[in-house]
Symmetry: none
Subunit: 203 residues, 4 copies
C-alpha cells in the first residue's frame, strides 16, 4: 500500500535525523534509517539522491537561517552604534543564537558536531572563517570612527572569539536549559563579554 509522498519524505528525514544524531554522519546506516522509517531501503533513493543529500536536507533549515543572519549582519550598520553600548550588540547577538537554538536544536547539533564525512564537514570551519573576516572588518571601521580605541587585535584572537560563538552554540544545543537558566546565562555572558571587549579595545 502506497503512502503519500510527503509522508515518506518526512519519515525518512525524521529517522535520518535520529540516526545522524546518534551515530554521526559517517556512522549512520542507510539500512537503519530505512528500517526505522518503515521504508524499503531502495525506495529511499526515489526521494533522495544519496546519504549526503539527506543530511543536507536535514540541516538545510538552519543553514538558511545562518546564511540569512550573515547577510543581515553585513547590511546593518552596527558601526554607528556607540562602542560603549556594545552591551547592546552582545545582547542582541546572544539572544539571536538562543532563539536559533530553540528552533534548530537538533539540526545545529548535527551541523556542528556530527557532520564528519559529509559534504558539510567543513561548514563549521568556513563559518568561523567568514565570521572572523567580518569581525576584522568591523573592528577596522570602529577604529576609523573612534581612533582612540585599540584596533590592533591579532587575527588569531578574532578567530578564537568567532570560534567561541560556535562553542557557545554547541553548548546550548547540548543541554536542556530552563528559561531561568537561559536568562541567567545571557546576562552573565553579557557582563563578562562586555567587560572583556571594552578592556581589550581600550574603550
Amino acid at each position: 500500500m502506497q503512502k503519500l509522498k510527503k509522508d515518506i519524505r518526512r519519515q525518512v528525514i525524521i529517522q535520518a535525523k535520529n540516526e545522524f544524531t546518534a551515530k554521526g554522519f559517517k556512522g549512520a546506516s542507510m539500512r537503519t534509517i530505512a528500517k526505522n522509517a518503515k521504508v524499503g531501503l531502495s525506495n529511499i533513493y526515489n526521494y533522495f539522491k544519496n546519504k549526503d543529500e539527506i543530511f543536507k536536507e536535514v540541516v538545510s533549515p538552519v543553514l538558511a537561517a545562518l546564511e540569512k543572519r550573515m547577510e543581515d549582519h553585513n547590511n546593518k550598520q552596527y558601526i554607528t552604534t556607540d562602542v560603549f553600548t556594545s552591551e547592546q550588540y552582545l545582547s542582541e547577538m546572544i539572544n539571536y543564537f538562543v532563539d536559533l537554538v530553540k528552533h534548530y536544536k537538533t539540526e545545529l547539533k548535527l551541523l556542528l558536531l556530527q557532520s564528519h564525512g559529509s559534504e558539510l564537514e567543513n561548514f563549521k570551519k568556513e563559518y568561523i572563517d567568514r565570521s572572523t573576516e567580518i569581525g576584522i572588518e568591523y573592528i577596522k571601521r570602529m577604529k576609523e570612527k573612534y581612533p582612540e580605541i585599540n584596533g590592533e587585535l591579532s587575527k588569531f584572537f578574532i578567530h578564537t572569539m568567532s570560534s567561541w560563538w560556535i562553542s557557545i552554540i554547541s553548548e546550548l544545543v547540548s543541554h536542556d536549559l530552563s528559561d531561568k537558566e537561559m536568562e541567567s546565562f545571557v546576562s552573565e555572558f553579557i557582563i563578562f563579554g562586555t567587560a572583556g571587549w571594552k578592556k581589550i579595545m581600550n574603550a
Copy 2:
C-alpha cells in the same frame, strides 16, 4: 628479519596517528594502518586488542597530561592567591595549554576533534563536566574567603567557560602559529579574560 617488539608498536602507533588524523576514528582503516606501518594486518592484534585500543594508546600521553593537570589543580591552593591577581592565574593556565599544544598537537586534535565513534568520543564532554565541577568548587571557596565577591554564577555559565577552554585548545591545534602570534594571542586573551572575570565576580 624480525623487528623489535618495540619497533612494531611504535610504527603502528605512528601510522595510526596519521590515519586517525586524516580520516577520524570511524573513517580510519585498519588495513591502511597496517600497510603504512609495514606490519601484517592480523599481527597488529598481537599488540593491540582492537582499533579502539590503538586510538586510546595514541592519545594516552595527552590523556595522562590532562589528568595530571587536574590533580595538580586540585592540590594547589589557588584560593590563597589574591583574586585581583587572577591575571596571574589566567596567564598560567593559558601558558599551560600553549605548552600542551606544543607537545601534543596531533594527539589533542584526535582527542578533541576526531574521536567520534571511539570509546573516547565522550571524553571532551566529560572533561568539560569535570572542569565545571572544579570551577564551581573554586568559586565557592573564593566566596568563602572573599565574601564580598559575587559567587552566584550559574552552573551553565561555568560550563560554558570550561568549554571555552576546550574550544581555545581546538583552535590552537588547528592552526600553525608563530611564536609571535602565540604571544600576541596570550596577552590579548589575558586582558580580555581578566577584565571579564573581574567584572562578573564583582571583584
Copy 3:
C-alpha cells in the same frame, strides 16, 4: 499536457539508442533512458514489454533490411552471372553494405557490437551461419554450372569469409568516412577480393 502516443515511443527509442550505444545493452539503464526521454520510467512499460524489447525495436529496421537482403539474394540468380565477372558481384555487395551503413549506422553498431546480454546477442553469429550456408550453396551451384572451377572450399573458410563481411560492416560503422575515402575503399576492396576469389576458385 499529454504527448501523442507516437511521440513517446519515438522519444524512448531515440534515447534508448543513445544509451545502448554509449553503454551497451547490459550497461544501459532504463532510468537513464526514461530521464532523457522525459518519460516516466514506469510509463515506458506501457509501450514496451521490457528492456529487451526496446532493444529489438531499436534495431528492427536494420534487422528487416538484412532479412530482406537475404531473401532477395536467394531469389536472384547470381549463378547465371559469368563467374569471371564476379567483380560485379562483389561491387554490388559492397555497395549494398555501404548504403546499409549510411542508413543504419547506429543500429548496426548496436546489433553487431553492443548487443551483449540481450536476446539478440547471438544475431551476429546466426547471421554469419546463414550467410555461410548460402555461400556454400552458391558455390555448389557454380560448380554445377562451371565444372572446371574449384568447389572444394572448406566450410570454415566460407564461414570466415562471411564473418569478414561482418567485420567490414563493423569497421564502416565505427568510422566516419568521407565519400572519397569510401570510394577508395570500395575499389581497393574489389580489386583485392576479386583477385582472391578468382584465384581460389581456379576460375
Copy 4:
C-alpha cells in the same frame, strides 16, 4: 580449513574465466565466481584488488603473447623478403595465429568478444590501430624498395585488413576445428590472400 594460496588463486581464475566467458565482463557476478570457486566472496579481495584485475589476470597470458608478437614483428626485416614470396609471410602469420588460438582460446575469446565494461574494452580497437600503423609503415618501405608496386592504399583499407585478422582470430576461437580443417583453412586463406595482395599492390 585453509587452502594453499596458489590453489585459491587458481580456482578463482578458473571460475572467473568461466563466468566471464558465459556472461561477459559486465554481466559476470562476483558472487557467482566466489560460489563456484568455493571461496568466500570477500576472501577474493585478499587475492585480487577488484573485478577488473581478475579479468586482466585471466587474459594476461595472451596479452603478453600479443605484445611480444608486435615487438618481434617490428624487429624482423620482412622488407628484405621478396614481395612475390609474400605467400611465405602470410603463411607464417596465419600459422602464428593458429598457434595462438590453440594456446589461448578462452583468453582470446574474452579479450576480443567479452571485455565490454572492463578496462580492456578498448584493447581490440587499439590493437587494430597499432597493426594498421605497422601495416602502413610496411607498405611504405616496400614501396621504397620496389618502386614499381602500388603503395597508394587508403588508410581505411589497411585498417580493415588489420581488423580482418582480428575477425579471423575471433572465428578461430569460436569454433572447434580439427587439424585437417585447420590445414584446409590455412592453405585456402593463403591462396586467397596472396592473390589479393599481389593484385592490389600491382606486384
